[in-house]
Amino acid sequence: MGPGLAGAAALVISFALLDRRVAVLPGLCAAQATAVAAAAAWQGWLQGGAGLWMAALLVLAVNGIAIPLALHRLATGLPNAPRARFPWLVLGAGLALLAALAVLPGVTHGVDRQELGAALATVLLGALMTLVGRGVPAQLLGLLSAANGLVLAGTGMPGLPLLPALALAAMALPAAALAGVRFLGLGETR
């Protein structure tokens, strides 16, 4: 129940990410990463896997603290143009429903369906935010949210080897994009 609760929290935050001001997006993303880290740590405690604990620490340190802090600086002072409209929320709800249908009882095998469904929905909502978000912070946070969903999916799969490597791979892209924005001015149109 614990990891499922944390997964549900990550999913709720994904919806909140779709309709918030730019300035609060980094904080929401940090909260989502913390929920994912909690799910990984809970699974680590249940299964006794060192990889899960390591993944939890990585997600908390990078996606939960380092990237949101850097993004907070980037987002400060930007206009609030990227607020999502009602149709995107409806589309987001449709994607979450699709994720729930994808993990019907006949489909999954030996996994927590609730957690896997929440993870799939989080990835899809992150993808939606990246695609419809206007401006660098919103798109980057969408990618980060999708990466959080990926780690959440990994924690719900018993015995998945190299989970810390999966977490690192999921973080590498948002981190590289952030470094590109900071040092090379990626995403600038002028």
Binding site: V123, L160, G180
Partner: protein
């Protein structure tokens, strides 16, 4: 350390050397040396393939594509050193920008040789980051925007691919149990029939969207035109390797689903993406885009034809592999001659249009023949789109060849060799090469 790692190490060590060395002459020598070492290592691997070691494997499909990528890598590095415009660009670039094409090449080699589905994805991720960084290092703001789009689109695609890989692992649990075996391509295919079909289908959806984005299949192609047109020539050519890896992984996943009776049929969605790519290229080329965009559109269209063949299955897979190889060689030759060598560029465009004696005509006829046999209603649209693409490409020739000048032999010779290879592959393919192609097609799709 596995021998199969040798084609990966050459370019990556060269990249390290290029980062450390400031001397232009030494950097040129290291660049050529690294790419030549990769090609040589690929040839040696092909001569005596080692057994899979759990992380890397040199099966016929991987070897074929590693050899192709090695060939493209070496000719591109040589041509970029000889190209006057590239030499001018290079003088102003940092050590990092000289090292990035080699990093991209090494990562592509690793993705092709990887036996672990997760490692394939991670290697592609590193290749994407290197490619986007190389695009961004150009001074233009449009290049930085293109690099951002590439990073976001491919990044999202790779998150989908990683999720699909994790779901693939889950699907393989009933057959292979926990552990790395459930992530190895070499063990997954023989066990595919015993995998969870529903989860395999779910994994396929994510893998198709993920690798389809990297392979720039329509409608997942949004990043490719801007990124490749804004990139320096070596990166523009080598980033075409992302499509080769993406399509080859889709072919492997197709084999897994085809072997499982409960999974969805993988062919129709792949064929749909392939036909959509061909349709977009054929339509967009009629608007007479600039030369670089024209080559990118041709690559999208011809890559779509290869994907369509992979979706069709059966003997069409062999034709699709031939098409993938020949269009990559012809496209590379055309890119290398762009802005320099008039005859090479015209020949490359004729080859991409599928005109004889170049090899695309052979693969196109094979694919059309198989479509008539396996899916007759699709044969007419496929044939019409191929003709339309060819005609649209031929319409570009007068504009493309205008203003060109004679180029050094270091550009003309590699381009001529690649075009000659496309002729040989189309008209007089040696029996051993045909057997290799057949083994690659069979190995990727049947246990």
């Amino acid at each position: 350390m596995s021998v199969a790692l040798s084609p990966v190490l050459g370019p990556l060590l060269a990249a390290v050397g290029l980062m450390l060395l400031g001397s232009r002459r030494a950097a040129d020598a290291i660049g050529i040396g690294g790419a030549a070492a990769a090609l040589l290592a690929a040839c040696l691997l092909a001569a005596a393939p080692p057994p899979p070691d759990g992380w890397l494997r040199a099966d016929p499909l991987a070897l074929l594509l590693v050899l192709l990528t090695g060939c493209i890598g070496l000719t591109t590095v040589v041509a970029s050193l000889a190209s006057p415009s590239e030499a001018q660009d290079r003088s102003g670039r940092s050590r990092l920008s000289r090292a990035l094409p080699h990093t991209l090449l090494g990562c592509l080699m690793l993705a092709l040789l990887s036996d672990n589905a997760g490692l394939t994805c991670v290697a592609l991720e590193a290749a994407t980051i290197a490619g986007a960084l190389a695009v961004a290092l150009s001074d233009a703001a449009s290049a930085r925007q293109a690099a951002w789009t590439m990073l976001m689109a491919c990044g999202l695609g790779l998150v989908f691919a990683l999720l699909g890989t994790a779901l693939l692992y889950l699907a393989a649990q009933p057959a292979l149990g926990p552990g790395l075996a459930a992530l190895r391509w070499s063990t997954l295919l023989p066990a595919a029939a015993r995998c969870n079909g529903a989860l395999l289908s779910l994994a396929f959806v994510f893998l198709l969207v993920g690798y389809g984005t990297v392979a720039a299949l329509v409608p997942l192609h949004g990043w490719v035109a801007e990124a490749r047109t804004r990139a320096p020539m070596p990166v523009a050519v080598l980033s075409g390797g992302l499509a080769i890896v993406g399509v080859s992984v889709i072919l492997r996943v197709r084999g897994l689903l085809a072997a499982n009776a409960q999974a969805i049929a993988p062919g129709p969605p792949i064929m749909a993406l392939g036909l959509a790519s061909l349709l977009l290229a054929a339509c967009a080329l009629w608007r007479r885009p600039d030369p670089r965009r024209c080559l990118v559109l041709a690559a999208i269209g011809q890559g779509g034809v290869a994907a369509f063949a992979f979706g069709l299955g059966g003997p069409a897979i062999l034709a699709g592999l031939l098409h993938l190889i020949v269009q990559a060689l012809a496209g590379t030759a055309a890119w290398q001659c762009l802005g320099g060598e008039r005859r090479g560029l015209i020949a490359g465009m004729l080859a991409l249009a599928g005109l004889p004696p170049f090899g695309l005509i052979a693969s196109e006829f094979m694919i059309l023949g198989q479509t008539l046999r396996q899916a007759p209603p699709l044969a007419f649209p496929l044939g019409a789109l191929l003709l339309s693409l060819a005609w649209a490409l031929l319409r570009q020739l007068p504009a493309l060849s205008a203003g060109s000048r004679e180029a050094p032999v270091a550009i003309t010779l590699p381009a001529a060799m690649q075009l000659a290879l496309t002729v040989v592959l189309g008209l007089a393919m040696p029996g051993a090469v045909f057997a290799w192609l057949a083994a690659a097609a069979a190995g990727a799709t049947s246990p």
